[in-house]
């Protein structure tokens, strides 16, 4: 297999004195979808932020297409082809939906390509087309989420990072978004790194997965095999028998802690 397009080696990042991830290594091979699972606060978002230069890692290296990018400014990272759909719907509140989308193509100058991609986004996400002239700040949570995903696609990235893309989307849209992810990956051979709480859907769509706990990778494997594992099934896929009665909520703790 060829060199992975993105490789993290022994990354350690912190927020001031709080260390959020401690020595994480992972890689995203060409044309694959990689998913990262983990409980709240495991450090998933931090991993993505570190990749796109929002946080400078304290240790370790981020290698993209063979180049170390860990100390680059986030805008430079974006310009070399890493698009990031951040957690929490970071729209430009006073710009219209269309202007928001066009900002996605800020670093590009091929007019024709941009126009085509705008069509493509409207095609993939018809709801966004309907909202084209509305200011993003007044849109509903889900509408903003679609807008942000569309905006990332507008940059025609070499690598797409998605932080909980399904957050707040209706079941139908969740399905559609993941179909879209798979489709783009298939059609454009775009490598995608997706963080997702909706583990079932993510594992189905992705090829390879990592499980994070407390800032460390505790498991990694192909998605088929991950889905087989007992712990994953219980904690991420909710496959354990439901204890309907609240009082007997004696839960099995995770084995890897």
């Amino acid at each position: 297999m060829s060199e992975p397009i993105l490789k993290l080696t022994n990354i350690e990042s912190s927020y001031g004195p709080i260390t959020a991830i401690r020595g994480i290594s992972m890689s995203v091979p060409e044309a694959t979808i990689v998913t990262v699972l983990g409980a709240n606060g495991a450090g998933k978002t931090t991993v993505l932020k570190t990749i796109s230069g929002i946080i400078d890692p304290r240790k370790g290296a981020v290698i993209f297409e063979g180049k170390a990018i860990q100390s680059m400014d986030p805008d430079a990272v974006a310009r070399i082809g890493i698009a990031h759909v951040p957690e929490g719907r970071e729209v430009f509140p006073l710009l219209t939906a269309r202007e928001n989308l066009m900002m996605g193509a800020y670093a590009r100058s091929d007019r024709k390509g941009i126009a085509d991609d705008l069509e493509m986004v409207f095609n993939y996400l018809p709801a966004v087309k309907r909202l084209e002239k509305r200011t993003a700040g007044t849109m509903s949570g889900g509408e903003q989420q679609m807008l942000v995903i569309g905006r990332a696609l507008m940059s025609r990235p070499k690598l797409l990072l998605l932080d909980e893309p399904s957050l707040g989307l209706s079941p139908r849209l969740v399905k559609e978004i993941f179909e879209l992810i798979v489709r783009i990956n298939g059609e454009q051979k775009l490598p995608i790194l997706v963080v997702e709480q909706n583990a079932g859907t993510a594992l189905k769509a992705a090829h390879y997965g990592y499980v994070l706990e407390l800032g460390r990778v505790v498991m990694e494997d192909s998605c088929e095999r991950l889905m087989e594992k007992e712990d994953v099934r219980e904690f991420y896929l909710g496959a354990a028998p439901e204890n309907v009665h609240a009082d007997i909520r004696l839960k099995r703790r995770k084995t890897w802690q």
Partner: protein, 290 residues
């Protein structure tokens, strides 16, 4: 009737001065969400630089004009790149206070370089007047009005239609997202500072024939502030309209109300407008969606 027309002409001219300075505030705010308290000081520096070109180096007015604008743009770019850039992303307040500190330094620096004596500023049209239907219009006033309207239009179009202009707004609304889009936020901020520095120089040079050039020039920023807010901070047409409105109100209240009302008319109007329209005349309605 002539009297009223004359008042309107005066109001327009002073109003445009306010607009021109307000424009500098608005630009910085629109693109970086911060209030630049040193705008008046940049204006003063611009006028001083032009003084040096004209009086010391003996350059022609127009050459000096262009050079001063370039110098101030470069200076402001550097200012952002060297100083302000270090606090990007810090609480806005700190950044605002930083500009106040810079204002102190600029005034002190100007005193050290150019001394404390006021300079007279020769301009090709400084003493010319035209009389139209009994109304006296000085050529300085014309130059200010034309300069203001032209600058406002250019900058308005720039923000509205150019990719860079939209990116500037984006960067101010959400720095993080702008970074994700590959917008070089830092460079953009420096650029807008450069533009604003250039605008300050234009304002300083256009106003200079009306007043003497000395370190009290920086105080002109205060009323322009009111103008910018009246129009809606962050709106370019707002700066234009706000400034002219304040200019007019001052003249009219000075002429028809009790003496001294001219001084506070601007602020009284501002308070009133804010109570009726809390976001100023052209300001964007800011209501966070939950």
């Amino acid at each position: 009737m002539t009297e009223l027309s004359q008042l309107i002409v005066y109001g327009l001219a002073t109003g445009c001065i306010y607009s021109l300075i307000a424009l500098g505030f608005v630009l910085i705010y629109k693109a970086t969400e911060m209030v630049n308290f040193a705008q008046g000081d940049l204006l003063m520096l611009g006028a001083f630089v032009a003084v040096t070109f004209i009086l010391t180096l003996g350059l022609s007015y127009w050459l000096a004009f262009i050079l001063a604008v370039i110098v101030m743009a470069a200076f402001s770019y550097g200012l952002d790149a060297v100083v302000l850039r270090r606090v990007i992303g810090q609480p806005q307040f700190s950044v605002v206070m930083l500009t106040i500190g810079l204002g102190f330094i600029f005034r002190a620096g100007a005193t050290m370089i150019w001394g404390t004596e006021p300079y007279n500023f020769p301009a090709p049209f400084s003493s010319g007047v035209s009389v139209v239907g009994g109304v006296v219009i000085s050529h300085v006033a014309i130059s200010i009005v034309v300069g203001t309207v032209v600058l406002c239009s250019i900058l308005w179009a720039f923000f509205r239609f150019s990719k860079l202009g939209v990116a500037m707004q984006a960067a101010s609304q959400n720095q993080l997202a702008a970074y994700y889009m590959g917008v070089p936020v830092k460079r953009i901020f420096s650029l807008i500072w450069a533009i604003s520095g250039g605008v300050a120089a234009v304002a300083g040079i256009l106003i200079a024939p009306l007043t003497l050039v000395d370190n009290t020039m920086s105080m002109l920023g205060l009323k322009a502030f009111a103008a910018a807010v009246l129009g809606g901070f962050g709106s370019i047409p707002g700066a234009l309209v706000g400034g002219i409105l304040i200019g007019m109100i001052e003249q009219v209240s000075g002429a028809y109300f009790i003496d001294g009302s001219k001084d506070i008319a601007a602020y009284a109007t501002l308070l009133l407008v804010l109570l009726l329209r809390p976001q100023g005349l052209f300001g964007a309605v800011g209501r966070k969606k939950v």
